[in-house]
Each structure stands twice: as structure tokens, then as C-alpha cells.
Amino acid sequence: MFHRPLIACLCASLLAATPLRAQESPVALRGEVHVVRVVDGVETRQPPEQVVPGDKLVFSTHYRNTQAVAVDGFVVTNPLPAQVMLAADGPFEVSVDGGTEFGPLASRTLTENGAVRPATLADVSHVRWTVARLEPGAEGELSYFATVR
């Protein structure tokens, strides 16, 4: 959609800002990661400057409806990096099959050597949150904890 010559873009942005803004996503997503450390018995989130296997990370996604119209069926999907393992269940659905099917962790199973077993935190490949509707200006943060394998 930005294949027009540069001069045309500049003109468009100067003279017709509103149409351009309409092409931006109405929802802004901002990812963050922190390392979770217990300092004097209190769990704190610190910049991930030193991270080693066994450390707990918290991956957060901040969302905001930046537009004047409501957003429906807002679903945020986050594939887990292969180097981490989900550290705790949470208010999200999970997938243990690479993102094909989702549901509460307790409902997930795996078949190994012909036997079905309940899925564990270590089996989770994706987490997913669903928010029915984002009114204009609505914002929030979704996060999951993971341990570096």
C-alpha cells in the first residue's frame, strides 16, 4: 500500500493526514520482558540484564485501543520461545500442539507411546488470551511467567 512515489507520500501526509492514520492498526501492542527475582522475600521485576537457565521471566504484552471505535473479538496469541517453559498456569488458554487447539491447561492431553496423559506446564507451546471487546481508549496488560530451560 506504500508503493507510491516518496513525494506523493509526503504530500499525502501533509495534506491528507486523516486517511493515512486510518491505515494504522486501531490497537497498539507493546511487548516487554523482565526477570523475576525475589529480593528480601519480595518478588520484583528487573530488567533482563542477567539471565541464566533456571531464571524466571515474565513476558508482558500491553495493549491499547488507540482509535475512536470499539474493537471486538480481541485475541492475543503468544507462541512460547523454545528456550523457556511455562512456569505457572494462568488466566489464559494454552496449546500443547503447536497452536492448533487451545483450552485450559487442565483440559489438555498428550498421547505418548499410545498412552494419553495430562499435559503439563512443560508441554505448553502457546498461550492465548481473549477479550470480548475493547472500547475506545481501553488498555490492559497480559502476561505469562516462564522459566529459562
Partner: protein, 327 residues
Amino acid sequence: MTTPRLPLRSAALAGAALAAAALSAAPLTAGGVDAGTLISNTATATFTTGGHPQSVTSNTVTVRVDELLNVTTVSNDAGPVTINGSAVLAFTVTNTGNGPEAFTLLADPNVGGNAFAASVSGLALDTNGNGTYEPGVDLPLINGGATPVLAADASQVVFVLVSAPTGLANGATSQVRLRAEAVTGTGAPGTLFAGAGHGGGAAVVGTSGASALGNGGLVAQVAAVSLVKSATIADPFGGSRPVPGATVTFSIVASVGGGAAADALVIADAIPAGTTYRPGSLRLDNAPLTDASDGDAGAFIGNSVRVDAGSVPVSATRTVTFAVTID
């Protein structure tokens, strides 16, 4: 499949509950993701506005995994190694960190409670990986030298060559301690060496302190030789009184006890003052020996008798007899 739908406020509250639940998660230990690995996370959202499906992707956040310095040292010997002069102790040093690392090796024979202190003559690296020390094959290393760089989770078998002091009691025990320390550095867990990690990050001391020691046991297996000397007297008058002219026959019984054969056992005795050796009377286990220093085991030299009994096995005895005349 139905999807639970969370209003905004409860999503935030649930986040707090999640944080509390995460406290109980057990951390992983040894090995783990390789040092220098980049962990990247990206979220994607789908939604509709005015019935039109749309999607948006978050920025990608990236974390670099630092090098964790961890090591273990364990003895490979099933029990105390017998030592009779010298012995070889075997240990395995394992890089339980997540990056390539070399380890300084230091063997210490002075461990509290030792009945004796062995001396460390050197170390050797099991270069062919067969677990058995082979002089000339396995790479010699000075005490205090370092292993080659070991990959994460890789091991190195280390031999500690020790020798025992003389005069040990049979069965005396001693420990030799091998300590392996990460060359990058050691310290309290969490100690940081900025920029020293594999892959450009920091090196962080793990729960081992980046230092580990293992103890190997030694048990002295030495020969214990006891000598019992007795004498019988035959006087010229058919009696057994120690008068001039009487013959005294001495018998020395050497018994080998302890845990090992006595090698090169020499039994020697000086002729008592006031007596004269009776030529040709020297015997070993009742077999006559010549008085000359020659091919046989016995000799009479410098007014002493001397018998070279050779190697005498455990629990065996050797009996030397000789006769003198009272002057």
C-alpha cells in the same frame, strides 16, 4: 471450542494471582539453554473493527542467556584405593554450566582426619576416555593445571597420582581432595563477571560457586614383619649352661603380617660380644647357606650374619638359624 472471555479489570487482577502462583515453580538446574542464546518473544492480536478482521503484531523482545558457571567433581573409585608406595585416584569433573569452560584442578592430600598425608606427584587427563590411567598415553598435568575447555555438560576424567610416606601402619586411611574451579572465576552464587560469558554476555556463578571438590580415599596396604628370636644352649658337658665353650644356637623367625608381601626382606643379626660365630652354621628354613657373599642368600660379613629372604608373601614365615661359641 468455547473461549473464556475476560473483561479488562479481571484480566489485571488475574495477572496478580498469576504472579503469586508462579512463586512455587521449581527452577531448573544443571546445563540448560546454551550461553549466548537469544530468547525472543512476540505476541500477535486478531480482532475485528466494524466487522473487518484485522491483526497486529507486537514488537519482539529479546533476552540473551548469560553463561552459568557450575561444576561437579566426583570420585570414580568404588572405595578406598590401596596404596603401597604409590596409587592413582580417579575423578570425573563435569561442566554443569551452560557454556564452554575450562577448570583449574588442584589436588590436596591434607584433609582433616587423615591418618597420613600422601604426596601428590602430579595429575593426568584421561585422553582416550577409557577411565584407566595409562602412563605415556594420558596427558600429564601439573597440580594446579587446567582441563581443556569442556562443552556444557561435558566431563573430563582426571587422575591424581599420589605416593605414600614410609612407615605407614597397615590399614591407615587418608583422603585426597580434588577441587575444580571455573577458569573464568568463582565466588558466591550470583557473582557476576561482566562480559566474560560465552556468547558476549556475562558469566554468572551458579549454585556450585563455580567450584566443586571430590574426595578420593586411600588405605595403606603395607607389610608388617615381626621377628622373634630365641636361643638354645648346649654346654660341653651335655647340659644347657652358658659356660665358655658352650654352643648357642639362635633362631630368628620372621613373620609377615599386614596387608602386603614383604619385598626384599633382609634378616640380619650381629654376633653377640663374647661369642664367636661358628662357621658354616647359617641356615634359612633349615637349608644350609655358605658364609661367603656369593650366589646364595646367606653371608657372614663384619661379624654379622645376613640373609636375603627375598619376597615373602603375607602370612608366611622365614626362619634363620646360626650358631656361636661362648668365648
